[in-house]
């Protein structure tokens, strides 16, 4: 008898009204925290196909920043052996030429980066080199952008207005020519 009375008093029903709120909270939590696997990478515009090769000897030697990568992933920058880590600084110095040296680019618009690799070069190294060269330009673009009024703190990226990006890139154009690779070390 005693037991039955107890059952009568306690209503074992869970309040379901707030369940929806909890569900929505969880939903929003997952919506915010999960990231969809977005494809990221270095975007490149390849030159159109043509049978005639650009002859680099026609260019003024001081305006060409040549980077060679051999089959053993070693670098030769303007005739000297170099490391990937120093590539960025050297490229920046070459493009801007702050001390007006005779052997560096006349002006940023004339600077050309020439990249040549071997068929045996590893793709990882190629990407590293490409990344450093791109980083050099990105840093220069940001530096140039910071001199413009209203952009002193901005970083050069895709979110900027197109005309601003165009203006910056017109002053320091990214010219990278890739020569047909040599074939000494392909497996």
């Amino acid at each position: 008898m005693l037991k039955r009375k107890k059952n009568n008093r306690v209503k074992n029903e869970v309040n379901a009204g707030s369940m929806a709120d909890i569900a929505f909270l969880l939903l929003i939590f997952f919506l915010v925290t999960t990231t969809i696997d977005i494809d990221k990478g270095i975007t490149v515009k390849l030159p159109p196909w043509s049978n005639e090769e650009v002859d680099p000897t026609k260019l003024n030697k001081r305006n060409v920043f040549s980077v060679l990568v051999n089959a053993d992933d070693q670098l030769l920058v303007r005739g000297e052996i170099a490391q990937v880590e120093e590539l960025r600084e050297r490229a920046k110095e070459f493009i801007v030429n702050p001390e007006n040296r005779e052997d560096l680019a006349e002006k940023p618009t004339k600077a050309i980066i020439s990249l040549k690799n071997d068929r045996g070069t590893s793709y990882g190294t190629y990407i590293q080199v490409y990344n450093e060269l791109k980083a050099a330009y990105n840093e220069l673009w940001t530096e140039r952008l910071n001199k413009m009024p209203g952009y002193s703190e901005a970083v050069f990226n895709k979110d900027l207005p197109l005309d601003v990006r165009r203006a910056v890139r017109a002053e320091i154009p990214f010219v990278l020519s890739e020569a047909e690779p040599t074939n000494f070390g392909e497996e």
Partner: protein, 155 residues
């Protein structure tokens, strides 16, 4: 008898089902967000290299993927262990690239075809020879927008 029926009538241990739809919807939304549509099974091993200067690829429908890497363990008897190209779900040669690009192109509305990007997912260990062949094939097919897929570098 009456003892039994009374007991049942009073205690009501029913779980409320009012929130079940919400839970189901939550799960539905969750899986909708998390699942990545993978159109093709991977036949080659690809670990893309790391880089810092990244751009996101925005529209998935405007991207076609080309995988380059060594065939996976279980396919090595058929395809060998040298790096190969994978288009859709087939191991292919660079000669198949124009047809592959064309097949993707017809699915894209005409006014957006100039924005088509090829995403090259290449293993870091692969040598440049095969990558160069693919690049040449892309240039010949006038597919000039290329994205070298990379992972963000952890600092």
């Amino acid at each position: 008898m009456s003892k039994f029926t009374k007991k049942r009538g009073k205690a009501s241990p029913e779980v409320s089902t009012a929130s079940l739809p919400d839970i189901i919807f939550m799960l539905l939304f969750f899986f909708m967000v998390v699942t990545v549509m993978r159109s093709s099974d991977k036949l080659v091993d690809v670990i893309v290299p790391e880089a810092t200067e990244l751009t996101k690829l925005e529209k998935k429908s405007l991207v076609n993927q080309i995988y380059i890497g060594k065939p996976m363990e279980q396919y090595r008897d058929i395809y060998g262990s040298a790096p190969r190209i994978q288009l859709n779900d087939k191991i292919s040669d660079e000669d198949d690239i124009p047809i592959f690009l064309e097949k993707h192109k017809i699915k894209v509305p005409e006014n957006q075809r100039s924005k088509i990007t090829s995403s090259l997912r290449v293993d870091g260990e692969v040598t440049m020879g095969i990558v160069q062949d693919v690049k040449t094939a892309l240039r010949k097919a006038n597919q000039l927008k290329v994205n070298y897929s990379t992972r963000p570098k952890a600092n």
